[in-house]
Symmetry: D2
Subunit: 152 residues, 4 copies
Amino acid sequence: MSNKADPQANQQASQQSIAEHAVAALYQRDRASQQLGMRVTECRPGFARVVMKITGDMVNGHQVCHGGLVFTLADSAFAFACNSHDRSTVAASATIEFLGPARAGDELTAVASERWRSRRSGIYEIEVTNQRGETIALFRGRSHEVGGPVVT
Amino acid sequence: MSNKADPQANQQASQQSIAEHAVAALYQRDRASQQLGMRVTECRPGFARVVMKITGDMVNGHQVCHGGLVFTLADSAFAFACNSHDRSTVAASATIEFLGPARAGDELTAVASERWRSRRSGIYEIEVTNQRGETIALFRGRSHEVGGPVVT
Amino acid sequence: MSNKADPQANQQASQQSIAEHAVAALYQRDRASQQLGMRVTECRPGFARVVMKITGDMVNGHQVCHGGLVFTLADSAFAFACNSHDRSTVAASATIEFLGPARAGDELTAVASERWRSRRSGIYEIEVTNQRGETIALFRGRSHEVGGPVVT
Amino acid sequence: MSNKADPQANQQASQQSIAEHAVAALYQRDRASQQLGMRVTECRPGFARVVMKITGDMVNGHQVCHGGLVFTLADSAFAFACNSHDRSTVAASATIEFLGPARAGDELTAVASERWRSRRSGIYEIEVTNQRGETIALFRGRSHEVGGPVVT
């Protein structure tokens, strides 16, 4: 909605619209996140919240959620946050701290926030919590912009 | 097979047998690695090689293999290597460097090697390569022994 | 100062006193931080702020502050924060992202915050900024409690 | 020395000469590494070995070598290895695993090896050992080439 009286509000609305379109376009092509049942429940410029239910097919040999799938949830939230500026951006590196187990039936939420961004790189922090608000993992990722828009 | 003349060879054979039983038991319970089509093609004490074919369901919004699934392959190899001593062991933390894209149809191989081990902790390095021998990712994990055997 | 009417305020004051004594004791024995001219300007339970001036002896071959000394500043802040509960605690691992150069004459500030803590482990995040408020580095550390008090 | 009969040997000799000049030039400007008493005892393209004696001024509040100075030694070895191609290169990020304490009087050796290199980035692994060959720390760094030669 245009607002002649407040150019800053207009710019924010425009950036929010860019973020929503970029994240929607990325999600639509992201068969891995879809197959794992992830849903993007919120996005803003530099921010994304993604939810995933842990199924019986996601447990590892210790009968808890495979750490790789906890990472994958965080990595998807990272991807949506760092592509929210509609510039094609990939992960260069990531670190994860596993703080507690997730189990089949749990619903995990990953919240990704932009911590720093330069012309080509960015740092994002992602926290993964369960339905009781307990922290399951902390993830930090470094992004690298490869150029070109996300929305084609 | 017992060998009265060579106690060192006997001990090595015994540790190899322990590794094979522990990895087989862990894999049999690991529905996530099975669902993703991973196969353990080699294991030794402190070592594992795991292979995974990238399917169309594993691509992300940039049309390359989701980085989380590359991580998951490395993490499984890490798990098999650090549980090969038949002591229940989980990941405490991990770092990954993404060095090149993997695509649908590629076959990835993760090789996990024990770099250091103390009473309760260990450091493992995992390299992920594709079918042309190109390095896709480098992963380093810190393990934490939680106690109890893997084989029940 | 005792406050019969407010036991929660009493407990907070007591924890603050413990933090101040533990950090003071640790700093007094920490010849490395002293030699590098670091000063602890604030401490609370799970929190520390440390300041260091970059001297000409701290520059590397590219004529900017040696990344190792930026790390050392962050690592000292991490140490003061994770020992603030008066339980002897050391670093198990750390990751650092170098985001911008520091130069001779700059004054750097490292702020360490406790992000998560269990019985024996903790995760701390440290941000290093310069005198203009620009972020120089982001550091994340995992602590390991070795037992025994800091104050002897 | 020129060798008309073996162009490959000539190229190797030339790269070795470039490495030695680049590392010498970098070390000469690196006041931090000099002040800490580091010596480069070997360098090759993508490789460096650096030695440092732990003095009483390097201990922290737990009376062991400050982890930041162990990191600094590894980081210097990383810098010499990644600048050995005579292209100005800086650290983008690093992770370190602290595996055992170093004490005043110990002599530490950091060996840096190039693990992977692309046009602008590289991954280097550094192992720090003491005079008894015990591993003190494992470090992995990501380099970023900023352009221009090291030798001016």
